[in-house]
Subunit: 441 residues, 2 copies
Amino acid sequence: MEFVEGVLKRDDLEISDIQAGDYEGKDVCVKGNVHVIRNMGDIAFIILRKRQGQLQCVVDKKDLSIKEIHEEACLKVEGTVSKTDKAPNGFEILTKKIEIISKPKEPMVLPVGKWKMKTSLETKMSLRPIALRNIRERSKFKIQEGILRSFRDYLYSEGFTEITTPKINAKGAEGGSNLFRLEYFNKKAVLAQSPQFYKQMMVGVYERVFETGPVFRAEKHSTKRHLNEYMGLDFEMGFIDSFEDIMNVETGFLKYMVEFLKKDYQKELNILNVELPVIDKIPQVRFDEAKKLVSEKYNRKIKNPFDLEPEEEELIGKYFKEEYGSDFVFVTHYPSKKRPFYAMDDPEDETVTLSFDLLFRGIEITTGGQRIHDYDMLMKKIEARGMTSEGMEHYLMIFKYGMPPHGGLGLGLERLTMKLLGEENVRETSMFPRDLSRLEP
Amino acid sequence: MEFVEGVLKRDDLEISDIQAGDYEGKDVCVKGNVHVIRNMGDIAFIILRKRQGQLQCVVDKKDLSIKEIHEEACLKVEGTVSKTDKAPNGFEILTKKIEIISKPKEPMVLPVGKWKMKTSLETKMSLRPIALRNIRERSKFKIQEGILRSFRDYLYSEGFTEITTPKINAKGAEGGSNLFRLEYFNKKAVLAQSPQFYKQMMVGVYERVFETGPVFRAEKHSTKRHLNEYMGLDFEMGFIDSFEDIMNVETGFLKYMVEFLKKDYQKELNILNVELPVIDKIPQVRFDEAKKLVSEKYNRKIKNPFDLEPEEEELIGKYFKEEYGSDFVFVTHYPSKKRPFYAMDDPEDETVTLSFDLLFRGIEITTGGQRIHDYDMLMKKIEARGMTSEGMEHYLMIFKYGMPPHGGLGLGLERLTMKLLGEENVRETSMFPRDLSRLEP
């Protein structure tokens, strides 16, 4: 009988293996995709793309032919390690033997080996699986991984439990027209536009919960900041004193995220020249106050008193950067009529809610707040809005059987990544974006 | 201007705070849901359910009335800490003051405060948001969290990159009839039945990738082992020498998982009396050989030579437990006709594939294997199967531009949890299961 022991045996080395060991002058074997070929007369440089970075192999063309080697071929290279400041990571391989493991069928369609591809967004999107092989492109999503990891790590450390809730739902959590609909074995179903109801249910179970998963919004507008499917980072917590508890957890996460990225993703931060925000404390301002401040400072008429226009968000961001040096600002007390039925109204002024948005460099990346936890209060609000409670029995059930004061938030991973990296279009920070016209790749 | 500093201020303590500090004889404040009330004449025990466990509060009814306190009410309790072996976690609170933060509207419908609820699966599912408040119920999903965390942790440490890929797709990865279909802005779309195509695309980018996310299968059968939406733990890796590399990574993960659960989830393992599998090395056996072995030992006719029936899987599990003491067994070289088009056939026998299933205690929890990485070979197989490559252009693109030998696997989180916990029905280990008849809660 043969057995699997759980140890991966490899005859090739990674960049970090060579950096960590005493390999100078020794023969090694490495593998990778041909990222770039630089032909220099008698000598050629073959740059392999490996998961940890680029690795330079020097080929003496008198000894070895490279005629059959093209960009994106997969190679096994044997040769001697030689230190040099001129190669990435401080060493190169003096090549003795090349084996082509896998050959591309066609010449490359995109200059993925270039530092900056200078390719249109449209082309990058159409050739997405290939375009992402570019070092700068893939670094974006490595940083996105770091954000995701730091979100989970921080919340674990704060006593949150990770939950996974269904994306095929009977009813939308926020209502409205932006629901994708499908047939579920002869029943009508929708795709989750938020895990809202489920995370509230789970507050009754674990008190503090979070989820990282896809959310779906059938919004019919095409902007630089909207995706129809995105990664939602959601948390919800019980026994809060006020919605400020939620803002404190988010601020704590953001501070942790910055330190986490500095520690484990410095390579990618350097590749993309990312300027991390300095987060000490984040200013908070009431919705109506924020409107007034930017109206006065930037001489702008308030058109819609119940919502923030994109331009207004931008100016609020600008204001708090200029006045307080902050890349972030919490805007609180949003009008009740613009918030979902489950939002807790302010007992001191029922036209506004105990809720907030977080703006980052002039764009909303989070909506959060306190929720109603009293059954009668919730039913009253549902009625006042002319809504039906039909199909919400399982959600309403939790309030019948005791719920603590609670609240939470949802954070869009792609938007946060976009603003962190200084990108202009959220499609740049979605691996495979979904928009009005884009269902592939 | 007010600022948010990122520090959560609480006036109440957690169980671990009290355990860690020097609180004996001191006054503290604690909060929680009323899990159980035990009325003993002059004295009452109110057991609070907190996220870290149960906390016993002793009330002298001569001093305090508990008439208004019902199960699942949310309380703020002030009192003196007193060590005792008779209370959970080794201490209780001698209650001085009780404040009711939130009142339930109705008496409890389920005995969630009982150790074992003895409620039918059907009732537990219908009242899921409440049923999960039971200590044993919620412990299951805490352990599930541990499995999920250990999967990610292990793969990070092995140099894998986490990816997030779209769940609304233009085409299914595995074809067949088990696709949920929806309308996507006047285009036909399906829900991802696997991240297969996307993770292969990303192998060209990061070499090693993984994803933890929902997968959707519109299978029309109702069994104890199938869900229509479940959490897929998927990974894919490049530059493999053979599909045994994949089995080694999975075995490495399973060993890590067991140690991780022992370290961080011992409390929940004890609550559920979980018997963790001992994993030293996992036997591997060829598909046809496995069939023969159980046919001989258990005197069973081989009915279908191309697939394993559930009963056969069970017997294979039994065989390897009896003969080798192993809870796991890799069954390799599945017939080509039963595997998807992208599976790599064995060059030594093209009727079988370089693939495997992992059985755990007699049930399949993983399907994996090596994939075809050569463009021409892939096109030939698509043609031989009478399939169309239409709609797969973005997938096929990666093979045109160079792909390393690679492979990967998909692991069902709920099934792994089910077998680990000794549950008989996979619905027990899905927070909110989706099946033929169940779309709610």
